[in-house]
Subunit: 266 residues, 4 copies
């Protein structure tokens, strides 16, 4: 049976996720700020600790991606490759090393949701919106001082976050919060639903072939809104650090398991 | 950390799936037919065999669900509880016992997709459409002889299936293909993406508190359409068995693991 | 060239709206209350006045429809016939007679949006959600005392309204606010966009073949939320009147023009 | 009462379309070809004739727009300004002058649909997908020789069109079919639905402030698929002319009425 993910079939053609590697090209808006460090700590599971430096730093990131497999066929059928996401990243420590960690994330396509689950990203579906830079006309922002971008997130018919970014100047690097290898938990509750996990891993990963494109820093506003099924408010900004619009190209093939605990074999 | 599924947090409020039990009320259109038995066999993974009786039987099922947790709050915020699904079920044998098994399935909400993954349903997102019975007016079909229902499935902007059902008479039971306990694989590829699986289980489950409502049988048409990322065509109908419109109420709390293979602990 | 609405073609096959008559079967939640009568008056255009009785009464209505043309083919391709809507109705007086009038309305399909424009309903697109009654299971409300329904409205990724309804008892009639013939304006600004209207009519209409199904009254909660592009807040409930869950079947063929003002012919 | 379009209110805040002017910035894929000239003629209403030159030429255009009003606030809330469209343009003659004319068009937002109706574009809703050029990474096409773009259209859960474009070289102009002022009919059937039109105009319009950005020509494939509610097949490509990826910035304020026929005033 072939297929990285389900459904597995003799050909693998119907697999919800194509074989690795996966290639990504995207435009991102990154908002870095300091939140209540206790709220960050409360989101770290057993075995994880706060980062030694900037333990309360958070990056709220909006991204518009095109992605494809090594067949590149998704580029010609873009409904199968384009998606947007919004995610919150904190920094942490595991087994004595510093990592970045995604604590909340929304995407707008199923293949991105499942691909993320493979990687330990806790993906939900949402409506992610962000301005795109324009070269001509007045319908969008320009990547020049004063250019203004907007970004919003909604899920289950409620607005969860909105942000604006005003370009100040070109810069070299889009921040530090999301710059470390990721450390994520992969959990799957046992079908007995008795509190035990059939899958209980900590994994780490990084992309390869990273290319950075244009990068601009600027001023920003960012606010979250409450929902009965979200917990963003505890991570609300207390002190701004910096914001960026930037381009990234990257590929992904595999990660590495840092810890694994099993239930007994049957 | 609380939360059946990710993201796990101190309160569990943001978990993509509420705690079990889950309650379901739905209307279903079930189309039972015989397909090429070799195509059914080809979709059964290692350890599974064809059913002794009716090994080539398939049920194509459209369902419109309302679902909720024990808090019942999803009923008051129906965007969090209503969803539709279309799925194909075959029969099979595992460890000497007969089971039903879902080989392909599409839903239109994220919580249904992830809940299904917990249960081993290979859920994708799609657009699922089906007529609803009406008591007054001419805008929809009536549950009386001659009433005609339509049902369609699409994903990635391609129509994948369409069916029609014409009521003939009331009946007792909505078919046999999906009537056994389910046997599903739960797989999660290792983050090393080296062909090994961190999670490799066969699980079985049934609902509880089953209530059957109205049930009608009738004539039907069913056809599938091809897609670069689906494999429905091999399961196309060769011989019709029967079709049903029916109502179901059921709850779900847990399943049972039939087999589990582990990778080494770290 | 054939086709009620655009695009008009030699066959009319591609018309965004099929030929009349149109048939509807639906389930509705109607919430009747009194708002600030000055807010109702402010939404009545020139030539219209407040109703003599209950001039501040508003009906907020959620409806889930199936609709079709006289070919009934939409019933077999339900994506072309099913839609939901939420609308606010007030009462008013025109040319000395009392009418009902829709002041705000959202639907979730394009054919409903354009059909409504033909009829003078000021339709926008939105996400409309409402519970459906169930006969079996615990996944939805039952049409019996204590059964609880929810209903929500969102547009542009913001929640605009939410309501709940608790069944008290069966009843005969689902309220009075939306019970009169409708009086609507049909406006199309001149392409010169100079403040003049190429189309400036007041029309009235009623359905035919009305069938009422089950009808229940009960208690309710209803609240609106603000948006930069909506004006619901001024019509917020001040005093509740009554709420209903009810079924309707109705057909529509034509209306009648009550007034028409033209720009010069060219 | 304020508001260009409905609903008209004392403030105009809730109008489905903001006041003119409207500003647009977009990326377009234009596919020009010759179709059966009789099929083009069949789509021209009374008073229109075939163009003297290239009467069978068609442009199939995919566009991804950002748009805003003079307040520019839609740029900061991009769900209210971003949309995609796919449309087919032919050339024609009216009152002795040559015009471009949109015969079929799909958009994915309501404000674009209604704005288009004001302008005589026969807009429906659809799912429009197109590759975006990238500067870094392998997830999308680059604007350099060999870069490959895909574009698709679907409506009512059926794929209607798909195309691919391969960059050959930079060029000056993105074709000729859509280069003339537009001539469109604006029709609104009388509410009596008796075959007469309350609004019956031919209008022309052009944008202002046109800025052209990058422009590339290349090779292409384009195919249409049938649907029970579309008429694309008669306009299928018979002979390719040329294809382009290009950027446009443009604003729009008003058009001019070329002919108007009225029903009697009441």
């Amino acid at each position: 049976m072939k297929g990285l993910f389900y459904p597995r079939t003799p050909t693998g053609k119907a697999s919800i996720v194509p074989p690795v590697p996966w290639h990504y090209s995207g435009e991102l808006l990154t908002f870095e700020y300091r939140a209540d460090v206790r709220a960050v700590a409360a989101l770290l599971p057993s075995g994880f600790g706060l980062a030694d430096e900037e333990p309360g730093a958070v990056a709220a990131i909006w991204a518009e991606w095109q992605s494809c497999s090594d067949s590149f066929e998704e580029i010609l059928d873009p409904v199968r490759g384009q998606y947007k996401e919004m995610f919150l990243v904190v920094r942490c420590k595991f087994q004595g090393r510093p990592y970045s960690r995604c604590v909340f994330i929304w995407v707008d396509k199923e293949f991105a949701l499942l691909r993320g689950q493979h990687q330990g990203y806790p993906k939900k579906l949402g409506s992610i919106q962000m301005s795109r830079p324009v070269l001509v006309g007045k319908g969008g922002p320009k990547l020049e001082p004063g250019g203004r971008f907007g970004a919003t997130l909604a899920a289950f018919d409620r607005r969860l976050a909105q942000a604006s970014f005003t370009v100040r100047s070109a810069c070299d690097r889009p921040g530090f919060v999301n710059a470390l290898p990721m450390a994520h938990n992969r959990w799957m509750p046992a079908i007995e639903t008795d509190g035990s996990d059939s899958l209980d891993e900590v994994v780490t990963m990084s992309g390869y072939g990273l290319e950075r494109g244009r990068c601009f820093t600027g001023d920003f506003e960012l606010e979250y809104f409450d929902s009965p099924v979200e917990e963003l408010m505890s991570l609300a900004p207390r002190e701004k650090i910096a914001a960026y619009w930037h381009e990234v190209g990257v590929s992904w093939r595999a990660g590495r398991t840092l810890s694994r605990r099993n239930l007994p074999e049957l």
